[in-house]
């Protein structure tokens, strides 16, 4: 009983070795993580100090975030509108004094998102077939379309908007093209992944009965991936509404330009009004598209 069997001894040895290597891995990753933390904190200026003047006139050195918090509170407080219970309607009217312009721009914002989604869907749908591994006619076309989609989605839509505002002039046209191009890349990736996960037996059947590449895609793949495509598209529409609400910041149409004007003119209450408008729109659109998505997929509670 006192002498352990060789099997147990071997187990103890293996266990000790496993513990040791796990500990080594942990130490190395902790050190690496700490190193990353220090370097990024230093580059990001996270622990920077700043001089502030206190209420009694003293100048002290303070952590920048700590010093900025009161200013943040002050700024947010300034954006709050003055509302009195007795004159509520008038006050709200004053708060949303530019509502006619804002309503128009809000409609423009949603329409920009709509057109951009449409452009993105058409582009991504056409490119997703040559970009999926199981359907591409040859490797060269596969790689070219994949790299194109990658570049187009890595560059943020705001950067595309900066470029297109120069090319197409200020206005919603530049915004539609910018968001549409970015959406092409993002949707193209999702669509092509859906294509790759599709069941290939249908395609083989059509191939066996003499269908061309086009027939194989049209009758073998498309019916399988349509539900996925619809749900990805609705998700993208939500994201595009968010993008189009800020894309006006660089002059590409929508509500963003009003935010920029209100910021530079220091119209604090306008900012909160605009924020409220965008916030409500985004939430309403999120809810609507979630409802549609659940109805289409036939699931309740779990989206894609």
């Amino acid at each position: 009983m006192t002498t352990a069997s060789p099997a147990i001894q071997r187990f103890e040895l293996d266990y000790a070795a496993a513990r040791k290597s796990a500990r080594r891995l942990n130490t190395i990753s902790t050190v690496l993580f700490a190193l990353c933390f220090v370097v990024t904190a230093w580059t990001g200026g996270f622990f920077d100090m700043t001089d502030v003047t206190l209420a009694n006139g003293d100048r002290v050195s303070m952590w920048k975030i700590w010093a900025g918090l009161p200013r943040l509170g002050e700024y947010l407080y300034k954006t709050l509108p003055v509302l009195h219970w007795e004159t509520l309607w008038g006050d709200v009217g004053n708060w949303f004094w530019r509502w006619k312009v804002w309503l128009q721009l809000l409609i423009e914002t949603v329409l920009i998102a709509y057109m951009a989604t449409l452009l993105g869907v058409v582009g991504a749908f056409l490119l997703s077939f040559p970009a999926s591994r199981n359907l591409a006619p040859n490797r060269i076309i596969l790689n070219i379309t994949r790299r194109y989609l990658e570049i187009v989605r890595t560059v943020p839509d705001l950067v595309w908007a900066l470029i297109f505002v120069f090319c197409f002039g200020v206005g919603p046209l530049a915004g539609v093209l910018a968001i549409g191009l970015h959406a092409t890349g993002a949707l193209g990736k999702l669509y092509s992944e859906a294509n790759e996960n599709a069941d290939m037996r249908a395609v083989e059947g059509i191939k066996a009965s003499g269908g061309s590449w086009f027939d194989q895609v049209r009758y073998g793949i498309v019916p399988q991936v349509i539900p996925n495509i619809i749900s990805y598209t609705l998700l993208r529409f939500e994201i595009n509404v968010r993008s189009s609400s800020i894309i006006g910041f660089v002059g590409a149409g929508g509500l963003g330009q009003e935010i920029r004007v209100a910021m530079s003119l220091q119209e604090y209450t306008d900012l909160s009004a605009l924020f409220l408008i965008i916030f409500t729109t985004v939430i309403v659109i999120d809810m609507l598209s979630e409802k549609i998505r659940h109805r289409i997929i036939g699931l309740t509670g779990k989206g894609v």
Binding site: T40, L158, F168, I246
Partner: protein
């Protein structure tokens, strides 16, 4: 062949309704199509998609794009240093912002998870709070933080952190809810308290998923970190917006390619780490 077609013809004459869609579906289809065509047409008109304007813009874009080749290479080290510092700042902002957001979101997620927080009105209230945080655009947060903390990467870090709190809390809470109940019962049966149950039964299941979510969002924050610079919150975006507004296209294209390359590297790195942490490539989120 002719046998089938004659059979078909007979079937068609016997039950004509089986071969046409019902009137309601037809009507809906026509209505839907016409609404789609009208809306799209109206948008095309309202946004001034005239062929002339498109051709003119495309030619201008062509001339802008022609500056891509040959790619511009900066000659002096000081110029390179500026660009590399911008790229590094973007990654640093994403790293610190994601980390800060994850640290704050971690305890909040437990309050929003059904299996940890049974009081439903409290849990749902917390969840609506997450939703509200997520609905605020990162760029708008950055603009607000610039006013309070000045231009520079600090505003960007805080903007990323605050918007990530909402995202992370929701995703972490879902990860915690998706854990199996069996280990919880086992640990409880051996006499553990509430905290011990969380530590030894829930956390070991949820942590790999949580880590993978953090890495994934770090990736997406390096992408969005580039646009925070455009409004002045530090990072490579500031340099890019500066080059574009000065019409220095060759340099702008090189910066864009460097951003693509950087994102590519970070994607590869975090994909590698995620594969090791979770054991397989998680394709479910993309």
């Amino acid at each position: 062949m002719s046998d089938t077609s004659s059979g078909l013809r007979r079937a068609r004459s016997l039950v004509p309704d089986a071969f046409v869609s019902p009137r309601r579906t037809k009507l809906l289809r026509i209505l839907g199509t016409s609404a789609f065509v009208l809306l799209t047409g109206w948008c095309l008109w309202a946004f001034d998609f005239s062929p002339m304007r498109l051709v003119e813009g495309a030619t201008r874009f062509g001339s802008v794009a022609s500056f891509m080749f040959p790619p511009h290479v900066w000659q002096s080290w000081t110029e390179w240093q500026e660009i590399l510092k911008g790229l590094g700042e973007t990654v640093a902002m994403a790293f610190m912002g994601t980390l800060l957001g994850a640290i704050i979101a971690f305890p909040l997620a437990f309050l929003g998870a059904r299996n940890i927080m049974p009081v439903s009105w409290f849990r749902l209230g917390i969840r609506r709070g997450f939703d509200a945080l997520r609905a605020v655009e990162q760029l708008i947060l950055a603009l607000v933080f610039i006013r309070a903390f000045g231009l520079g990467p600090l505003a960007g870090i805080l903007a990323i952190a605050v918007s990530e709190i909402g995202t992370f809390s929701k995703l972490f809470a879902e990860a915690i809810e998706n854990t199996s109940k069996k280990p919880v019962d086992g640990v409880k049966a051996s006499g553990a308290g509430k905290l011990q149950t969380v530590r030894f039964a829930v956390l070991p299941q949820a942590l790999p998923v949580i880590l993978s979510i953090i890495l994934y969002n770090f990736e997406s924050n390096t992408r969005s970190g580039t646009i925070l610079g455009i409004v002045g919150a530090g990072g490579i975006g500031f340099l890019l917006a500066d080059r574009i507004s000065a019409y220095r296209w060759p340099e702008a294209w090189t910066i864009i390619f460097l951003i693509v390359f950087m994102v590519y590297l970070i994607d590869g790195f975090s994909g590698f780490l995620r594969k090791h942490i979770i054991g397989k490539d998680d394709r479910t989120r993309s």
